[in-house]
């Protein structure tokens, strides 16, 4: 099985899945917190419309995890402030 690296830890994915699908498949439904209320957020619309699922991918901030196809070796970081 292929793997991406999420916050330093390997995360397996099935070829063809998005970063969000890989996270959800591993049981993770939240991976960032909001700017104001520090509320947890993860995937909501699943199709790139709501921007809830923002992550940093290979250093590029503000990426929608539900749109980015997972690729072996990809580095994903999830953290506060990705919606700034």
């Amino acid at each position: 099985m292929s793997e991406i690296v999420v916050d330093g830890d390997p995360l397996p994915f099935v070829e063809g899945q998005t970063v969000a699908a890989a996270l959800v498949a591993s049981g993770r439904l939240a991976w960032r917190t909001t700017r104001v209320g520090h509320r947890p957020r993860g995937v909501f619309c699943g199709i790139g419309v709501c921007f809830d699922c923002l992550v940093t991918v290979d250093g590029a901030r503000g990426q929608r995890a539900c749109l980015v196809p997972a690729r072996t070796g990809m580095t994903v970081t999830t953290r506060e402030g990705d919606d700034e």
């Binding site: 209320g37 947890p40 699943g46």
Partner: protein, 499 residues
């Protein structure tokens, strides 16, 4: 593709695929672009071609024969070089030029890397579909609460079920295929809360009787839900969700005819995921800035206005599928074909070599639009929905604006979602009001149809990508085509209109 294109189609869902196939069969050159990694749009969402063996989703689909016929027709035109297919490409703006349209797009196949490009043609078809319409409720922003479409997209696109005990709520027939799909993957669907009463359909029996295909599809889902013992509860709603890092329970209430929760009927149900959806809102981001006129649709949305041949009010711009009103995949296919026939006629192309029966898609479109209207009237947004909200309920997820703040803005004189945005920042965040817009509209100007705000870009683009803009990109190479089976014809139309 060395010669210039005659037509750019944005969106490769049922509408865009059908339109492209028919236009190609008529002899024109087409660019077809979609942000997804595979053909199919929402209805026929698939994992990318190379991953299909690993993520099996065939059993979740309907009408796959038609999908495959369209895929094969498009593949055949790709090898001849007349179709420039651009998957993983996101259009962020369309500009009218002297002799046509410039579609500004970013190639995101290697995301997060982006490459900007411009695709030009004298005609443009916008088939960008729709997205789930949401009505906020307390706890709708707790992780694990998703749109029903989001649950479906994870399932069909990635083979992933977002939970093991799921409640679905909202209104409309779309709740049923999602429930059936989850159940087929072993998910316990604890309740399907449909706010409307099925009796409402009986007020419009005509369209129902004239669309037996819809009945058959609905009956199939009903049988599947029965088999999996999934309870469908009419006139109920998920009125609250609770949990910390993940949803743990919902509250389900019976609804009075006006949509207010009946006192004393609320019960708590434990879940680990939730899907909610109140129909769909058309994706008009590219059409509004072009100046295409909008018109009211029976479901409370403004949709793009088209004539009997899918022409918008801007010459050269056509629309098909759910940008023109929500009505399902079969209607989208027929509208796509109709649009392509108009484009061929307007370009002065000769008659279609096969299936040149202009009356067939047109009468199917009329019949299916009547069905869509009956569906919208049978599944209205509950008038008393605002009573579900406490002042603390988040309405704008991005800027974290509460229902209380929006009520205050309204009391201070804000009459629509644009004024509320100025006063509260609701709709000013990353999603640009796509999620909260319909709800803020219902809280302020319910009597009118919801018109989305004009957005300058349909998707954020990095400045780096624009700096490297490639004005005349070569078409990606076409893969070898599998043989076209005898069941389909050159434009992917099987011999009948889409039922």
């Amino acid at each position: 593709m060395s010669e210039p294109a005659d037509l750019v189609v944005v969106g490769a869902g049922p509408a865009g695929m059908a339109a492209a196939a028919t236009a190609l069969a008529g002899g024109v050159r087409v660019v077809l672009l979609d942000s997804q990694a595979a053909l199919g749009g929402q209805y026929w969402r698939h994992p990318p071609e190379h991953a299909r063996a690993l993520v099996a989703t065939d059993d979740l689909h309907h009408g796959l024969r038609r999908y495959r016929a369209l895929c094969q027709a498009l593949a055949a035109h790709r090898t001849t070089g007349r179709l420039d297919l651009r998957l993983g490409h996101h259009a962020w703006s369309v500009v009218r030029e002297d002799d046509g349209f410039a579609v500004h797009a970013v190639d995101r196949r290697e995301a997060p890397r982006e490459t900007a490009l411009v695709l030009r043609a004298p005609r443009l078809l916008v088939a960008t579909g729709a997205y789930d319409r949401q009505l906020p409720f307390p706890g709708w922003d707790v992780p694990g609460v998703l749109t029903v479409g989001g649950l479906q997209a994870l399932l069909k696109g990635g083979g992933v079920a977002a939970g093991s005990r799921v409640a679905l709520g909202g209104t409309g027939p779309f709740l049923l295929p999602v429930a059936a799909g989850l159940a087929a993957r072993g998910v316990e669907v604890v309740a399907v809360c449909e706010a409307a009463h099925p009796r409402a359909w009986l007020r419009h029996p005509g369209p129902l009787l004239r669309n037996p295909g819809k009945w058959a599809e609905g009956a199939g889902y009903a049988a599947a839900l029965l088999r999996h013992r999934v309870p469908v509860r009419p006139r109920t709603a998920i009125v609250a969700a609770a949990g910390g890092a993940r949803v743990t329970s919902v509250r389900i209430a019976s609804l009075a005819p006006d949509g207010s929760p009946r006192p004393g009927t609320e019960r708590r149900v434990e879940v680990d995921a939730v899907g909610v959806g109140w129909g769909f809102a058309p994706q008009l981001d590219l059409l509004v800035p072009l100046g295409c006129a909008l018109t009211d649709s029976a479901d409370g949305n403004a949709v793009v206005a088209v004539d009997g041949g899918q022409r918008t009010t801007v010459p050269g711009v056509y629309a098909a599928g759910e940008t023109c009103g929500v009505g399902g995949a079969a209607l989208a296919v027929n509208e796509g074909r109709l649009a392509a026939r108009s484009i061929l006629a307007d370009l002065g192309a000769g008659p279609l070599p096969v299936n040149g029966r202009p009356a067939a898609p047109r009468s199917a479109v009329t019949r299916q639009r009547a069905f869509a209207r009956a569906m919208a009237l049978a599944h209205p947004l509950p008038p008393a929905w605002p009573s579900w909200l406490t002042d603390e309920t988040v309405v704008c997820r991005c800027e974290e604006v509460s229902a209380g703040a929006i009520r205050t803005a309204r009391a201070e004189g804000a009459h629509d979602h644009r004024q509320v945005k100025q006063l509260t920042r609701a709709g000013m965040g990353w999603c640009q009001g796509r999620m909260c817009g319909p709800a803020v509209h219902c809280l302020t100007a319910r009597g009118r149809a919801y018109e989305p705000a004009e957005r300058l870009v349909a998707t954020p683009v990095t400045l780096g990508a624009l700096a490297d803009l490639d004005e005349t990109p070569p078409a990606p190479p076409a893969p070898p085509v599998p043989p076209v089976p005898p069941a389909s014809t050159a434009d992917g139309e099987t011999d009948k209109e889409c039922p």
